[in-house]
């Protein structure tokens, strides 16, 4: 099997005396979409911040593309930041720049290319993220929540990364936009051969686009497998999560959709 893209070993993170993770292990394999779920406050976002080097670990090692991430350093290694893209929960677009300029920030910073080519790249990234054609010159404050997410995704994809981190990409979107965003991620991941680390609460997202699901509970990963196997794991939180009313509804809908698709025409 190919070497994992992300390799977390016995990670311990803590805030003061509160331990968030205690001996957490996680592998993300190349080309897969890994969905990370867990209760509120179980440390999903903290895990992501630790992997991308924004949150110092108290113990343990984290390797991304085989290179150890030293969290807490002032500047992240540019060899790494050029190979990953991050979509923060609130978008984190630079508010003083237009959408097009936001997308061009990494291009400008790392590459030398003519201004005209940079504009063309920004234009097609805007289109690729399924933003409306007039979104490029707008400022983030003028965008709706869903458009902000799309613009932030376009910025995360500006350097054509191999690894994409998404922190609750569909939170706060209406079901239609959320489904559209899911399929956008699926298409992009397929065509660009992306590895995706996706934090979500959205059961529909888990069912429709994730290859594997990792469950954080009790300060570590308690399950990491395709969703149908995870459902059968005997753990109180997993039982409550997948067998609650919403879990059953999402699974039922997904099952029905699959049955319909398999029916001969």
């Amino acid at each position: 099997m190919a070497a994992p893209v992300i390799e977390v070993r016995s990670l311990v993170t803590q805030f003061g005396d509160t331990r968030v993770h205690d001996g957490l292990d996680l592998d993300v394999r190349p080309g897969e979409i890994l969905g990370v779920v867990g209760g509120s406050g179980s440390g999903k976002s903290v895990l992501m911040r630790a992997i991308i080097g924004l949150q110092p670990a108290a113990a343990g090692t984290i390797r991304v593309f085989g290179e150890e991430v030293h969290a807490g350093a002032h500047m992240l290694s540019s060899a790494l930041t050029r190979r990953w893209g991050v979509l923060f929960q609130g978008g984190a677009l630079f508010s003083g720049l237009t959408v097009a300029e936001n997308i061009q920030v990494p291009l400008r910073e790392f590459l030398h290319m003519p201004e005209r080519l940079m504009d063309e790249i920004a234009a097609y990234k805007v289109a690729m993220a399924a933003l409306p054609a007039d979104a490029g010159p707008k400022y983030p404050a003028e965008l709706s929540g869903g458009m902000k997410k799309r613009a932030a995704l376009a910025r995360a994809l500006a350097l054509d990364p191999e690894l994409l981190f998404l922190d609750e990409p569909t939170a706060g979107l209406d079901p239609i936009s959320a489904a559209a965003f899911d399929s956008l991620i699926r298409t992009l991941a397929q065509s660009m051969a992306l590895t995706v680390f996706l934090i979500t609460h959205d059961l529909d997202t888990l069912h429709s686009i994730c290859d594997r699901v990792a469950v954080i509970a009790d300060k570590r990963i308690v399950a990491n497998a395709p969703i149908d196997e995870v459902r059968r794991v005997d753990h109180p939180w997993i039982r409550d999560y997948f067998s609650g009313p919403r879990g059953r509804a999402a699974a039922g809908a997904h099952h029905r959709a699959r049955v319909h698709a398999d029916e001969p025409a």
Binding site: L111, L117, Y124, G136, L157, D160, S191, A193
Partner: protein, 372 residues
């Protein structure tokens, strides 16, 4: 690092063939585009062979797609499954998208900027007056309805804006006192009138400089802090949340700050005047050999009580102005983090400017009523 792009051009039966190798990625996009443009300048059928290409990403595919789009007699050969998929996806995303806002002619831009500035200025004046009115009404309502003023909030603000400023205000005043005494001494000595240094230090600090310099310092510290605090609360919708809970932001946020500065400014101003006099006293003692006891005795003779009252009357007015402007600018924040920065700057500049203008009015007024 991605391998550089190599282009190998040869002529075959059907026309020219470009064999590309290396990485067609974002890092090599500028180079790839230039090479393709050079090869494509010549008309005629052209085939592009991708069989030897190591890696393609969307930007590489996009550059290739532009060539195919603009030059119809071009075909692609030997593309891998992934490359074909990328090309199709990029082609689907190729639709006209605006990148830059439309650029109006210069004269129009300048006129628009001037007009926007005028509108903004008058709107701000109107909003400022409305805000002062709201604050007064809110104060009156709080007093009339015998609701308690939020004294805990007031005391927190008094500590942050007043007690925490003691060090810097004291040091500044002490040094200013020394400088006034020293400069006065150098000039007055020419007439043998150096004994009047005591008058100069005492009267200048109590009448003017003590309170004025303190007000400038407090404007720099607290008007900015108020604007940034309230502005950030506005951005994170905390102010809106307050309204929906039935709390009046003016009563909760603005009144405690205004009351705190109205109470603290006279105290800080008096403290600053005393330290400035102490600085002047130290200078006269060390340089002019005037013992502290005679210095105090002389102060007592030359400073009329009206000087003290002048400072104490001005100080609370300055405090109210500084706090009001800081809070007002904070509440004017909309949208972005940049707006917080702009409003904070405006708050400090306006507060200092208005304090100095008002100080001039006070000077004329006090002279007119015979306090000199």
């Amino acid at each position: 690092m991605d391998a550089p792009v190599e282009v190998d051009e040869r002529v075959e039966a059907g026309g020219r063939v470009l064999r590309l190798s290396g990485a067609l990625t974002v890092a090599r996009a500028a180079d790839l585009e230039a090479r393709l443009a050079a090869a494509a300048a010549e008309p005629g059928p052209l085939a592009i062979d991708l069989a030897a290409v190591a890696r393609v990403d969307t930007v590489g595919a996009f550059v290739l797609h532009k060539l195919l789009r603009d030059r119809p007699e071009t075909e692609v050969r030997g593309a891998s499954e992934a490359a074909r998929r990328l090309l199709a996806q990029v082609a689907a995303a190729d639709r006209p998208c605006a990148v830059h806002p439309p650029e109006p002619p210069l004269w129009r831009k300048e006129l628009e900027a001037l007009g926007a500035y005028m509108v903004e200025t008058f709107a701000t004046i109107g909003a400022g007056l409305a805000f002062i009115g709201l604050t007064v009404v809110s104060l009156g309502r709080t007093l009339l309805s015998r609701r308690n003023i939020r004294w805990s909030a007031v005391s927190v603000q008094m500590e942050q804006a007043g007690v925490a400023a003691l060090g810097i205000v004291g040091l500044m005043s002490f040094l200013i006192g020394i400088v006034i005494a020293q400069q006065g001494y150098v000039q007055l000595r020419q007439f043998g009138a150096e004994v009047f240094v005591v008058n100069l230090v005492g009267r200048a600090t109590f009448r003017e400089l003590g309170v004025l310099l303190t007000a400038i310092m407090v404007a720099g510290r607290s008007a900015s802090a108020f604007a940034a605090q309230i502005g950030t609360m506005k951005l994170t919708e905390e102010v809106d949340a307050m309204r929906t809970l039935g709390l009046d932001p003016i009563e909760v946020l603005v009144l405690p700050r205004v009351i705190a500065l109205v109470l603290m400014m006279p105290l800080l101003g008096f403290y600053a005047s005393i330290l400035a006099v102490a600085g002047g006293g130290l200078f006269t003692w060390l340089v002019m050999d005037v013992p502290p006891a005679s210095f105090v005795q002389r102060l007592n003779e030359v400073i009329p009580m009206s000087d003290f009252w002048m400072g104490m009357i001005k100080a609370p007015v300055f405090g109210a102005i500084i706090a009001t402007i800081g809070c007002f600018q904070g509440l004017q924040v909309v949208g972005t983090a940049e707006s917080v920065g702009q409003r904070t700057t405006i708050a400090v500049v306006q507060a200092i400017f208005l304090v100095i203008v008002l100080d001039a009015f006070f000077a004329v007024f006090f002279t007119a009523i015979g306090w000199d």
